[in-house]
Every structure is written in C-alpha cells, then in structure tokens.
Amino acid sequence: MVAYVWYGDALALGLASGPACLAACGPVLVPSLLAGQSGVVSNLRTIAVFLGTRLLGYLLFAIVAWQVGALASMLIKPHPYVIGLVYVLMAGVLAWYAYAAGRNCTGDCSTAKLVTIQEKGFAQLANDSKKTLAGVAALGFLTGLNFCPPFIVAGIRAAELGSLTGALLYFAVFFAGTSIWFVPFAGLGCVVRNPGLITVARMTMGLVALYYLALGLYMLLGR
C-alpha cells in the first residue's frame, strides 16, 4: 500500500514536472524531429528512442549517485565540469546530426526552392534512418545527463525509499509521468517536409549546438 503511494507520488511529480522537461529538451528534440522524416508514426518512433535513451541516462546517473552516496545525502548536483562536458558532447552530436540530415537529402536540401522534397530524397532518408535514430539516441542519453530541476527533486524523493531498486523504480515512474508530455511532439510529423523546412531545422540545430558549445566551454574553462 505504501509503495502505491510512493509510485503515485512519482507519477504525479512526473506529470506536474512534464512542461519543465519539455522546455529543457525542446531545443534539442524539436529541430531533430523537423529534420527527420514526416509522419506521426515515424515521429513517435523517434520520440520513443529519444525518451528511452534519456531514461537510460537518468538511471545510469541514479546508480552512480547511489553508489557514491550522493543521492542519499541529497548532494546530487554534479560537478560543473561534468555538465560542461555533457554540453560540449551534445553540441558535437547536434552538429553531426545537422550535417547528416543534409547528406540524407540527396542534394535537394541545399536548394532554396520551397517545394516538396522528392520521393527519392525520402527513400534515401529511410535508408539512413538507422543513422538518424543513432543521433536521436545519443541526444536522448545526453539530455538524460543534463539535469533539470524536476529531476533533482525526483532524485531527492527517490533517495528516501532506502533501496537502489526502489529508487530506480521511482525514477522510472517519474519518467513515465514526464514522457506523456512529449507525445504531442509527434504532431510535428504532420508538418510537410520540404527543403526549406529541413534547411531551417538544420540551421536551428547548428545554432542550438553553438549555444551548448559556448555554455560547455564556459563551464569547462572556468567561470
């Protein structure tokens, strides 16, 4: 009975914190989805991969934090160097993804014409979907290590459970609560892809990558 209360608490916390998670992941996820294939199912798959690896990042951190006792002592804020490194890696993955999305377009993405992308381009994109999903997976994992305030709150609550398994389960339920908020992003699949849109998405990824790179270097090189 007590466990139900705890996990209900985790779900409620996740649902309440969802918009904050959405805001934190939006700059990475939205342009990545727009640069990919159209279609709600395809976008749902991308989101699932992103969320799955994000959960992996969360759990990995929770295990490490538990082992070193940081979770229980509520000192779960990581060292600025770790965050700086995560930001630099995220910038690198975003830049690579933006570059790869351009290569997937079989030349059409480089034109300024606002016309629907050719079927040939999509076929190529489908062939490279493994590469695309790898990029999304890497981004999901890195955002999982990019701690937002709701995650820290969940960490503190999970620590009160007293066992690693319980804490991990708490995290997983909390994560499920936040993930519901990500489902509407699949609606971006309805946006018709054309070279203009993909160029905009790639440029956006480049700009966001620049932002994370600057932030990461600032943290690594000393404030």
Partner: protein
Amino acid sequence: MATNIQVLRAAGPARRGIGRSILLTLPIMLWSLLMFARPDAGRDLKSNIAGGITAIFMVLLFFMMMRTGTTHRWRRLFFVSVGVLFPIEFIHTVLQMRGTMGIPIEEMIAGRTPFCFLPIPLLIVPAALTRTVIFPGSILPGQGMAGDGIAAMVGIWLAISLVIGKGWCSYACFFGGIEEGVAAIPKQAKIRKLDPRWHYLPWAVLLAMVLLSLALFEPAYCMWLCPFKAVSEYVAARNTVGLIQNVIFIVLFAALVIVLPFMTKKRTQCSFLCPFGAFQSLFNKISVFDVRIDQDKCRACVLCQNACPNMSLTKESVAKGEALMSCMKCGACVDACPRHAVSWHVKGTDVAWKPERARLMFLYGAWAMAILFGGSIIAQGLATILGVFA
C-alpha cells in the same frame, strides 16, 4: 531589350498634377496636424517645434509619393530618420535616467526594462504554457524606463501588423533604418552573389530563440543576439558572461548593420538574422496587401530582384507572379520596374486591377501608422536634439 528598358525608365511612373497631389495628401495632412501640431498646454516650445517639423516632413514625403508616383525613396527618407533619431533620443533618455547605457540588474528585477517589439514572438509560448511574461518589464505603464509598458507595445504592433503585415519592417521598425541608410550609401554593391539559403536563417534563429527562451525562461534573443543593443542599452558587464554578451552585440551590429549592408546594398540584418522579421512574415498571409508581378508585362530583366533589399524576389517567385512571404512592402521593386509589371495588389482582385488604387489604399494605412509610431520617434528625437542645443 536594354534600349527598351531605358526608354521605359525615362518615361518613369505617372506623375500627378500638384492640385490632385495636394488633394490626395489632405487626409494625411489632417492626421499629421492632429498628431503633432495640436495646441497642447503640457508641451514645451522645443517639443512643439519638433512636432511641427515632423508634421511638415511627413506630409511633404507623402505629397512627393503622390506627385511622383514613386514610394521607396520617400519612405526611405522617413525610415532612415527614424533609425537615426531613435538611438539619439533613447540613449539620451537612458543616460539622463540611469547615467549609463548598461541595464543594472536591479532595474530588471524591478521590471523597469524598456520593452521593444523584437521579443514579442519569444513571449508567446511561455505565456501560453505558464501564463508568465518572460521579460523583465512592466505590463502596464511603469516607472523609470518601463515607459508605456509591454501591453501598449503589443497593442500597437498587433494593430499595425494586421493592416500592413510585414510592412511593419519598412514603416514601423525603429531599428531597420540604420542599415537601410548604410545600404543606400554606395552606388554599387561590392558583393552581388548571396547564397539564397541564408534567407532561411531568420526562421532558424526564430525557432532556436523560441525554444531556448522557453528552456531558459528569459528572452534569449535580447540576452544573446540582438545587434541593436549596441545602440540602445546593453547588459551591464559585471562578469565574463556580460562581457561576452556585449561583444556579441557589437560584433553583430558592426557586421550586419554596417559592413554587410555597405558591401551588399541589402538590409542584411533583416534578411539574415532578425527573428521578429521572420515571425512578421506570417502576417503577410493575413494582410490584404501584397506585391504581384504581371506576367504579361514582365520581361524577366531582374531589376526588381536587384532592387529588393531583403531578397524577397527570386526567379521562381517572379515566375509565379508574386513576392516571397518575407516581402517588406517597401516599394523598391515597384519603383524599379520600367514596365510597371510589379505593382501593389489587393488580395482577391486581378493582378492588373487598378494597381495605383491598391498602392493608395496601402499607403494611407501604412503612412497613418508611420506617423503615429515612427513620426512620434522622429519628433522626440528632434526635441532631444533641440533640447541639447538650446
């Protein structure tokens, strides 16, 4: 064909008689008098003189538009005046009230940061999701530099945008005049070929800034990218981050507002960076006015494309008989066309339907707004100069 163009250029647009031009200018004259030259007990002499000069200036420009049948060069005079006088008035006021152009953090916390229209698109999503305005200003008229507040600016912006769409960027923006003035200086562009893909960058900046503003819960463009911070107010550089922000502002201003407009004769900041401009393009879909190309008259001489200050005409768009949605309705292409193939147009009518009437309908709305908004800035700028030299 070149000879034909020269002949047609020599003919120029249809000129009106003086009497008819005055008659058409009368509504604008009345509006200007109402705005600037009314007897007002609360205003001092220098403000009345500045208002009088502004009223004459605005009426004269409109008269010349009516008389010559051209738009761009007269509008440009107004627009550059706004661009030059706004920083003069603004910086003077900031220095008087704060003693520095840097925004102290205390002012931000107190909600006394002056609000301009540029962050409007960045505020919408956070406001919709959290009912919070992520700008350290005052919603209603506030103290200090808060001025008339965010609500007043949003109201003015919405009213103007619904009528003239992205015409805002040519008749109401108080920043674009600087680069338009710089772009007018050289006789020929030193850089002629610009990759059209850069035209997508403002949309990317818009998307990135909207997402980052939501993530950071602050107007990211104002904090990191606005070139006009260099001539208005900047972040008080109390630490490394503040220093970096100011360096970015100055570099972007120098590059996109001074150097590149001079080299390209284009409004490069508007074309390649401004997220507000990209957002404003959406209002071109609502506005009833647009620019169309009559395919029967067009000889694809590309004069209109070369004249366009923000690359809103491409070969493809001309072939389709319309400008891109980024068109700022400045009138440069209309004036440049020797065959009158490019014209103002009211949506829902035939392309060839009375283009001069469409131009008049647009100009009455646009110029009335210009007097209301830009004209006030000119009057305040002139009053500041008169006050300094008095």
